[in-house]
């Protein structure tokens, strides 16, 4: 009989093979790196929760043919500890997809003891499955935003991508940037400084009134988290900053990837709504200094006014989905009273078996 059970260490080579097959990578040369990656992220991470494990589907004849990854994050709702389970990746061997293995894995995962399940990188089929399993669309977070820093370089980059050739594209963008009129950089209020783990922990506690549902970070988790972020297979250098007011008060923080002559992808902007605009200004200036031509992020309630002021345009992104048996938690997320961002999601969890991302961060 086939069964769904928690991931065991002995399953890791099979999981690595499934992922390599899914990505079209050579399963032999990528195996060791992928096994190490899944050991770090699915078994050995400091937030591993044996009650909400990664699940595998074991076929009686073919062995492990499917996996539903589990990334558990400690959160707090008012004064109550809650467990947020970020599901993914969901990978099923092509021969077993028509048999509904993916649906069975998702169903089993959603039945777990977590207080809230969140998925921030769902494709259309996962969206349909989750909805049919009584999940909900996190509508706001299923929309992205974009701010063009340098219209000339942005247009050139888009054109260069169409005509092909990364080196040629980079050259064209650099020339366009050099030819574009230099805007005078307006000094911003406050100051952005490197974001230390302790400062982020303190900041989130300061934001408790704005976000009754918020992450409950600790030093061990953040050390692990930022190391994985820096090594993830996402274009650009990891940048994390704390923004202080002129009087030294911490106002907010941001974490993003900045790709020179490319896109700056925002992973988290943590600030109360009243301070989000200034923190966003620092973020955009930082991305511009790093050479990005466009900033992109996920739409979140506390960013609304700041994004409106900046006249950011909206863009389609992956589905964000939620599932919970606790209507109060769902109401907190839908009502903008939760700091639930990509930092605590799965969006950036992408293995890099070729070592192209060396872990650089600033």
């Amino acid at each position: 009989m086939s069964s769904i059970r928690p991931l065991e260490r002995a399953d890791l080579p099979a999981i690595a093979g499934l992922y390599a097959n899914f990505m079209g990578w050579d399963p032999v040369s990528t195996s060791a790196s992928l096994v190490a990656y899944y050991a770090r992220t699915m078994l050995d991470n400091p937030s591993f929760d044996p009650e909400i494990p990664t699940l595998v589907y074991e076929d009686s004849e073919d062995g492990v043919v499917g996996v539903m990854g589990s990334n558990v994050r400690g959160f707090v709702y008012r004064d109550r500890a809650v467990r947020v389970a970020c599901d993914g990746p969901l990978i099923v061997h092509p021969d077993h997809r028509p048999r509904g293995v993916g649906a069975l894995l998702m169903r089993a995962y959603l039945e777990g003891p977590q207080d809230l399940t969140a998925d921030d990188r769902a494709v259309d089929q996962a969206y349909e499955m989750t909805r049919r399993l009584r999940g909900e669309t996190h509508g706001v977070a299923s929309i992205g935003w974009s701010h063009v820093i340098s219209p000339a370089a942005f247009a050139t980059a888009a054109l260069a991508r169409r005509v092909g050739g990364e080196g040629r594209a980079a050259g064209l963008v650099a020339r366009a940037g050099a030819l574009a009129p230099r805007r005078r950089v307006k000094p911003l209020e406050g100051v952005a400084e490197p974001l230390e783990n302790g400062a982020l922990i303190d900041l989130i506690e300061r934001l408790r009134r704005a976000f009754p549902l918020r992450p409950s970070y600790d030093e061990a988790h953040l050390t692990w988290l930022f190391a994985e972020l820096a090594a993830a297979n996402v274009d650009g250098r990891l940048v994390r900053r704390l923004v202080r007011a002129d009087d030294g008060r911490p106002l907010g923080s941001y974490v993003m990837y900045v790709a020179p002559q490319g896109i700056a992808e925002v992973i988290q902007l943590a600030a109360a709504e009243r301070d989000a605009s200034l923190v966003l200004d620092h973020l955009i200036q930082d991305a511009s200094t790093g050479g990005a031509v466009e900033v992109r992020g996920r739409f979140e309630h506390h960013l609304l006014a700041a994004l409106r002021r900046r006249r950011c345009r909206l863009v389609p992104i992956d589905w964000a989905l939620l599932h919970s048996r606790d209507p109060e938690l769902l109401a907190a997320v839908h009502g903008g009273r939760a700091l639930l961002t990509r930092l605590d999601g799965e969006w950036w969890l992408r293995p890099d078996p070729f070592g192209a991302h060396s872990g650089a961060s600033a």
Partner: protein, 86 residues
């Protein structure tokens, strides 16, 4: 009509309602016929649970017993023995 036959008939009707397909025969293998994929299975599981007020097993869901109206009816009968068919 026996209880088993009535249950199979109700399951076949449910499959037709949920999947919007015609079940040619209660013994038709829905997987082999290409009528069940992940989405269809999720819908079918959910509707079978609602219709018959049962909980299908999660960890050991035996797909080989969920391939035809007859087989699904047998699973329902195992989990809710003696339940009258409306």
């Amino acid at each position: 009509m026996t209880d088993a036959a009535a249950l199979t008939k109700r399951v076949a009707e449910l499959i037709e309602e949920v999947l919007q397909v015609e079940v040619p025969d209660p013994g038709t293998d829905l997987v082999a016929a290409g009528l069940i994929d992940s989405l269809a299975l999720v819908s079918l599981i959910t509707e079978v649970e609602l219709e018959f007020s049962i909980r299908l097993p999660i960890d050991e869901f035996d797909l080989s017993r969920f391939r035809s109206a007859e087989q699904i009816a047998a699973v329902v009968a195992d989990l809710a023995p003696g339940r009258p068919v409306a």
